[in-house]
């Protein structure tokens, strides 16, 4: 028998839905449909191409409770206090087990310009048109359709950010999602809509207060970058080390937009990230970056898709993994260029730094190009710490452990140094460095 309020139990869903009776009918319908779809869709099978090399037996939804009812062990005020990663911010939302525990609105000035920054459920109630148009509107097709359906069914918490045409927000918006207590299942959602020429940065911090926490997480973040907009999305994932996590991203980049996404991953037992970048307008530019420190027996399973529907556009993907101990990573990426998307530049690079001889990095890069006038490249490399570089550091009296750490930090630095926000960059550096503390 499972735990009370088990995620996969119909009783849990019925009770969850009953408690939502004040929500709009379309929202409840969507949840019902999603719940049915979740049950109809099969679990991943080891023969599925989208799950190649993945630890299928680790993808097990048994024994998790719906976050709301899981009950936390850490006081809410402590979690809010621990959410001070970024001091210079335009607004912040803090959630624990999918419950909103702290909320900082945007300034009056931004609100007057039409900026909407709200917890998801409030946005569903107050901005039905936007939500109906954009919520879960982007295709999930990299293998986690089933888990995405469960996300739709149970998702209540998250941030909704709408930036109207021409509005530029200098400071980042911040969302912090915490699990709290063992076995909680949570479904954080991020929906960012930047209209024409808008400029904005949003940061998600995903963390468990206790290192050993066992949780189930399935987060979705969807970015809509309107014509000429400039969107930066950063996430830092530090779930408890016994957790199963999914982070499913989809980005729509319209004409002349510039989208940068950077995901830093250090947490969970098994983490699957799916990232789909859709280039929908000429002149659009998307950067997809990921930095992962894999330690212990962790598995990071990374699936990416860059689709160019329009030409004269750029997508540039760089996934860097540092692997220690017995950790595993899987990178599977595909670039698709449709026939009319001429003069596309699409790049895909996966670099793995193997620090331990028993770590394992798998790479499956791929191209599917139908246009004939394009520049596309894909490459995956796996290597160890460079002996000459290490020797040079030792020859200056730097002890071996420190030298190796500096080399690993250096491996990530080319991406971090490009971040315009130094406070966020420092946060990410701290998170990466902490993985080498023991």
């Amino acid at each position: 028998m499972g735990v009370p309020n088990e995620l996969t139990s119909r009783d849990t869903f019925d009770a969850y839905l009953a408690a939502l009776k004040d929500m709009p009918q379309w929202w409840l319908d969507l949840k019902r449909e999603s719940w049915e779809r979740f049950h109809e869709l099969p679990m991943p099978h080891r023969k599925d191409e989208t799950w190649r090399f993945a630890n299928i037996s680790g993808v097990n939804l048994e024994g998790y409770r719906l976050g709301e009812t899981a009950g936390g062990e850490v006081a809410e005020k402590d979690l809010v206090a621990r959410s001070e990663h970024v001091h210079q911010r335009a607004g912040r939302l803090v959630f624990a087990n999918d419950q909103l525990i702290d909320s900082e609105a945007v300034t009056r000035e931004l609100a007057d310009q039409g900026v909407i920054w709200l917890p998801l459920e409030q946005a569903v109630r107050e901005h039905e048109d936007l939500l109906r148009k954009h919520f879960m509107a982007q295709p999930i097709k990299l293998g986690s359709e089933k888990f995405s359906a469960l996300h739709s069914a149970f998702c209540s918490a998250g941030s909704f950010l709408y930036v109207p045409k021409g509005v530029e927000i200098d400071l980042p918006l911040v969302a912090c999602h915490w699990t709290n207590g063992q076995d909680a299942g949570i479904f954080p959602h991020t929906l960012l809509i930047a209209e024409d020429l808008a400029r904005v940065t949003l940061v998600d911090f995903f963390s468990s207060p206790e290192r050993k926490a066992r949780n189930y997480v399935c987060g979705v973040n969807d970015l809509y970058a309107g014509p000429g907009s400039r969107v930066t999305y950063i996430s830092a994932q530090n779930w408890g080390r016994d957790s199963l996590a999914f982070h499913l991203n989809s980005t729509q980049a319209f004409k002349d937009s510039f989208v940068t996404s950077l995901n830093v991953n250090v947490g969970s037992r098994q983490a699957r990230t799916e990232s789909h970048s859709q280039v929908l307008g000429e002149g659009a530019h998307t950067e997809m970056q990921s930095l992962t420190v894999a330690t212990g027996k962790q598995e990071f399973d990374q699936r990416t898709l860059q689709t160019h529907f329009k030409g004269h556009s750029v997508s540039d993907l760089l996934y860097k993994n540092a692997l220690l101990d017995d950790a595993r990573t899987i990178f599977s990426g595909l670039i698709k260029v449709v026939e009319e998307a001429q003069q596309t530049d699409a790049y895909q690079t996966n670099r793995n730094l193997l620090i331990s001889p028993t770590a394992e990095a798998n790479a499956l890069p791929g191209l599917e190009i139908l246009a004939n006038d394009v520049k596309c490249s894909h490459g995956a490399t796996s290597g160890q710490i460079d002996d000459e570089q290490l020797y040079y550091m030792l020859a200056r009296g730097i002890p071996e452990k420190t030298a190796k750490q500096l080399l690993v930090f250096g491996f990530f630095e080319d991406i971090l140094i490009k971040l315009e926000n130094e406070e966020i960059a420092e946060n990410l550096r701290t998170l990466i460095r902490a993985q080498f503390g023991e």
């Binding site: 020797y391 550091m393 030792l394 020859a395 200056r396 009296g397 730097i398 420190t402 500096l406 250096g410």
Partner: protein
């Protein structure tokens, strides 16, 4: 305890070939010694062996740093004991800034419970950079990445200036430098001369010795020091080349 770097009967192999043969050399603190010699005679092998490069196998001999046996120490221990090597071809390390690199190296020389004082550190770093005419913007640049030959050599001297070794070995520091860079680097080295430090300059050409005037000049041939005299020896080598050395010390087998 004599304050000197003593190399006694040192033999070194690289991939089964013996390069250094019973080499003897003593470098007291406060002095600058130059080692000259034709290419392929083992000058750089001596430098690399002293700096414990893993490709160089020491088959016999001793190296004493103020009486302490250096050969029993790991690479990093030797450096912290006060032995510094200015490399001929220093590595490029992407993503590791000069500042972070030198902070780690400086921190490693402090007692375990002692924390590096950042303001002091940067003050010193900027002083040394100014001395070597290195743009302060270089502090955040990755070590040697995209540096010109001259910038790499200046960066080596910057590290030497920051780490204040007891003994510095400079491996062909003059190679690849134009005349301006050579002058700046030499001025930097001259400022680091002093009673607390011994410097061993390894060079193929006499040119750098016009700027850094040595106390002694040693000639190396076929893995040994074969002549040791004052600075006038460098001028003689400049004039006469190395052929007379080769003839004088050629092994009987090679002669035949």
């Amino acid at each position: 305890m004599k304050q000197q770097l003593e190399i006694k009967n040192l033999s070194v192999k690289v991939e089964e070939t013996e390069i250094l043969k019973d080499l003897n050399l003593t470098l007291p603190r406060g002095e600058v010694h130059a080692i000259m010699g034709p290419n392929g005679t083992g000058k750089s092998t001596l430098a690399k062996a002293l700096a414990a490069h893993p490709d160089y196998e020491i088959t016999s001999g001793e190296v004493l740093l103020d009486g302490e046996n250096v050969l029993e120490m790991e690479v990093d221990e030797r450096a912290r004991a006060g032995l510094f090597m200015a490399f001929q071809y220093p590595s490029e390390i992407p993503g590791v800034s000069i500042a972070n690199f030198l902070r780690a190296a400086t921190q490693a020389r402090l007692a375990e419970d002692e924390e590096l004082e950042a303001t002091q550190f940067y003050k010193r770093l900027y002083e040394k950079m100014d001395m070597l005419q290195i743009d302060r913007k270089f502090t955040s640049r990755a070590i040697n990445e995209g540096f010109s030959g001259g910038e790499k050599k200046r960066n080596e001297i910057l590290q030497m200036a920051m780490l204040e070794p007891k003994y510095a070995i400079m491996d062909e520091t003059d190679s690849g430098l134009d005349i301006d860079a050579l002058r700046i680097v030499s001025e930097g080295v001259n400022k680091l001369r002093g009673p607390e430090r011994g410097i061993l300059l390894i060079t193929h050409y006499q040119r750098i010795l016009e700027y850094i005037v040595p106390d002694h000049v040693h000639v190396m041939w076929n893995g040994r020091i074969v002549k040791s005299r004052g600075k006038e020896l460098a001028l003689e080598l400049e004039k006469r080349g190395y052929d007379w050395i080769k003839e004088e010390f050629a092994e009987p087998a090679a002669k035949a």
